[in-house]
Amino acid sequence: MTKDRKFGAALLEIDDISLAFGGVVALQGVSFDVREHEIRAIIGPNGAGKSSMLNVINGVYHPQRGTVAFKGRKRRDVNPHEAAKEGIARTFQNIALFRGMTVLDNIMTGRNLKMKANFLQQAVYWGAARREELEHRAKVETVIDFLEIQHIRKTPVGRLPYGLQKRVELARALAAEPELLLLDEPMAGMNLEEKQDMSRFILDVNDQMGTSIVLIEHDMSVVMDLSDRVVVLDYGRKIADGTPDEVRNNKDVIDAYLGVAH
């Protein structure tokens, strides 16, 4: 599937990133970019450094070498909450929702950065704080409608089945109205129907909200269907980069996935 669509300028530029934990090298000289309105997949065998890459973009890890530029601004050593301020939202491989809170409250935390009422106003829940709360609640409702989770609004997240939790996590990320959305294995552990739903949501987000997306995924058919361009990592190095078709036929990629006789 190819999409006729104009991509904008580079939104995120990863340049020569190297990351090591003690003696363990997670990433080595990886460079690629993500353009506006693009769905970019990162694939690779287990331990290839995919999640590490996402964590570098999101500011969880700080690379020893190389630069990350977001919206043309080079940055070093941002914290995750600063990355969130820049307009980067994410989901996690092992769902990281606030389990004791309701779906609605979870998604409302996504609006956290957009809310401005000061502490004192909030302490008495009066005036600006109250108005703002209602205003943002309305925004959150549109996200809830978009992802078709109206019926579980008031359910504590811990009680939901896995597939729905993944969707709530996506909703929380979307509530922040991010420019760049990082999805770490959004379809891991889902059945076919859930995967199809999630694929549709990801495409809709990209299409209707114009959000650029970086996603890590193991299911090859999903990756080939969804993504505009694919980065392939193996042992922390980039071994291929291109459209799904180019990557699929790349000899290094086939070797990395199927193993190669030495």
């Binding site: 995750p80 409250d105 409302m108």
Partner: protein, 305 residues
């Protein structure tokens, strides 16, 4: 009903109500612990010291000639400063350390706060007058013959109002939600743009405010003295009964502890030589641990194996 059994009933209710009102005061102490535990998973040993510090600071300013409300405002400012100080110098350097490390740090902090308080204001016992008399309510006395203190009733009212405000704050506002989010999952909280440092300052500020209210009420009742720091120990059985992360639990736990220790003292005490009020709550808590270790309102932790 014979007048004998009526008297007995009347006495029972007098003890029960007195105990419940005292229990509200325990709840107040426990509340400070719950707030910090909820947001950071740290058992803040210094909460008792904060109560002492807040009360002593207020009394100190009053003795310097400040009017009551100004002294309270200044004490509140001191608690806010303490929150910033604690976050910057104690919590931030220890981020990602095991909980036991943070717990030990709060023990150190409590010594520090106690020292600063006494260094600044001296170690003698101060009286604090909130203008509420600690005397029986006439109406109740005349109509039911029960001896319930006016002060206890007003103190309970203040505590109830404080709890109501905190409940709305926690459930309805952005910061309240952020506090709960941080309590639930640090990593996820960071990813949605919640600054842990800011949240910690806020939660220590709120705990400081609660400590101030607690300190004023307890100080007015028992005198502002070093013994206030031992309130922290009284909060333990309350927390074990109610659950460490529940505001509702702190309230109910406090009521149970207050009522049961007074009833035990009056009805069981004479048979075992008295003085059981001081240790009964701990035995109760111990028994409770065997049956429901997470407390009445605590979250049951289910781990995947």
């Amino acid at each position: 009903m014979t007048s004998e059994s009526y008297k007995r009933m009347q006495f029972f209710f007098e003890v029960l109500i007195g105990g419940l009102l005292a229990g509200v005061m325990y709840s107040l102490v426990a509340l400070g612990f719950v707030l910090i535990y909820k947001a950071s998973g740290v058992f803040n040993f210094a909460q008792g010291a904060m109560v002492f510090f807040a009360a002593l600071t207020t009394v100190g300013f009053i003795s310097m000639g400040a009017p009551f409300w100004l002294a309270v405002a200044l004490a509140l400012a001191a608690m806010v400063a303490l929150a910033f100080f604690t976050e910057r110098l104690v919590l931030r350097p220890l981020v990602n350390q095991p909980q036991i490390t943070l717990f030990m740090a709060t023990i150190g902090l409590s010594f520090f706060i106690e020292g600063i308080a006494q260094l600044t204001w001296g170690a003698q016992v101060h009286a604090l007058d909130l203008g509420i008399a600690d005397e029986p309510i006439d109406w109740l006395m005349n109509n039911t013959g029960m001896n319930i203190s006016k002060f206890d009733l007003v103190a309970s009212g203040i505590a109830a109002a404080l709890v109501a405000v905190l409940a709305v704050f926690f459930n309805k506002t952005r910061t309240g939600r952020a506090l709960r989010a941080v309590a639930d999952d640090h990593q996820a909280a960071l990813a949605v743009g919640i600054s842990l440092q800011k949240i910690w300052v806020i939660v220590w500020m709120v705990a400081g405010f609660v400590a101030l209210v607690t300190g004023l009420l307890w100080g007015a009742r028992n005198g502002v003295q070093f013994a206030l720091t031992f309130l922290a120990l009284k909060a333990l059985p309350v927390l074990i009964l109610g659950g460490f992360e529940s505001i509702a639990g702190a309230i109910v736990g406090g009521l149970i502890v207050g009522a049961s220790e007074k009833l035990a003292e009056v009805y069981v005490g004479p048979h075992v030589g008295g003085g059981i009020e001081s240790w009964f709550p701990y035995v109760l808590a111990l028994a409770f641990l065997l049956v429901r270790p997470e407390g009445l309102f605590g979250e049951r932790r289910i781990d995947r194996v």
